[in-house]
Symmetry: C2
Subunit: 232 residues, 2 copies
């Protein structure tokens, strides 16, 4: 996994937040011998500490390129991750879209991946969405991904010219336990990644937000040790 | 047109580049009594002078909000507008997608409009694409717009909850002459807007890039005077 990227490798764009899911996706893309162009968005998220995690992961995997792109979504607000709204700590609510949903986030981020892909001559885009053990965000569902892919192929010069794009979602049917197991199989240290939405003042993961709860549950179910240092 | 926005007005997002087309679209949205939330993207475009035009137009129309959002697409490159590539000056080539195409630009910009719309409780998004007298960009065609709208309604909390989004393209079937005539009808001074991709060193519009050529042709066909100061 740490080897050099061959110059003949096909380029792929990987949306790399720095979380467990995107770390595993980047590892899977490298395992498939893609030259990984990792894109991380600095959207003034409450948990900007994940940007450092993205850099650690990119360096560990020996990616071909890692862009951290500033995009100040706090000017829009409308989410506990980008505005002054408390992050819920009382457990994952079934069936509801939580206040940590960021309006149109994955549409915006996939669009940026699409622009980078076309500019780099890549036809493959990887994103770590999963439809099980997730937070109920609409832009993590397969229907959305399929629709975005169709739009991408109408939107672009490459798409119109018949060299279409594929949005890869290797985690879509995995549980968090499956994803934790994949990280272990790929020898990716879980401590490199960051999931917590609302880090404690001492820098540790809060352990109580939806993202921490889902992560803890996944590692527990997989019978694996999570390298995260939790405050609770 | 300069009147105050009524507090009961429905909010709409208008993608405002500062060009003639987006100026007319913003004027049409105001004429329809929308409270206009104008979004301008500072993407390190070669013709960043258009940002000042967007601010002039927003002030003239008395918009409810004007956000100029920095997004450095020069990190991606791949276009004469965002990389060190010459802007063609020899005329509009029929049937080809020109080098001034910015990879996935309208997908990225509409996604940002979508995020702002959802955050502001708006369901209407206006964009000044037109499929006649345009530069041959794939992301200006009706097929793309329809597909994006469908994706938007799968991507978002509002869409999933049945309060879907409409992408308005009032210029889609207009020629540049029609658009110039609309600007005159709406009493929008054409000199407020900026179209040139590659301003001359003295700050005037070059008069020879595709965007200048299409604009000049439109005003000439409409029998109207263009307030632009052209170098050639």
């Amino acid at each position: 996994m740490n080897g050099k990227v061959s110059s003949a490798a096909k380029p792929a764009i990987v949306l790399l937040s720095g979380g467990l899911d995107s770390m595993v996706v980047a590892g899977l893309a490298r395992e498939q011998d893609y030259a990984v162009h990792a894109l991380t968005i600095d959207y003034q998220q409450r948990h900007r500490v994940e940007l450092a995690a993205a850099s650690r992961i990119a360096a560990h995997l020996g990616v071909a390129e890692h862009i951290t792109l500033p995009l100040d979504l706090s000017q829009f607000g409308g989410s506990a991750l980008t505005a002054d709204i408390d992050v819920p700590k009382d457990g994952v609510e079934e069936g509801a879209i939580p206040i940590t949903y960021v309006p149109a986030r994955n549409t915006i981020f996939l669009s940026l991946c699409l622009g980078l892909a076309e500019a780099r001559g890549a036809r493959d885009i990887f994103i770590g969405v999963n439809a099980l053990d997730y937070s109920g965000y609409p832009d993590c569902r397969p229907d959305f991904i399929h629709s975005f892919e169709a739009t991408a192929n109408l939107a672009t010069k490459a798409g119109v010219e018949g060299r279409g794009f594929t949005i890869h979602t290797p985690l879509i049917d995995m549980t968090k336990a499956d994803i934790a197991a994949q990280a272990a199989r790929l020898k990716l240290d879980s401590a490199m990644s960051w999931s917590c939405y609302d880090p404690a003042s001492d820098g540790r993961a809060c352990g109580r937000c939806d993202s921490c709860r889902l992560r803890k549950k996944g590692f527990a179910e997989a019978g694996l040790t999570d390298g995260t240092d939790y405050a609770a």
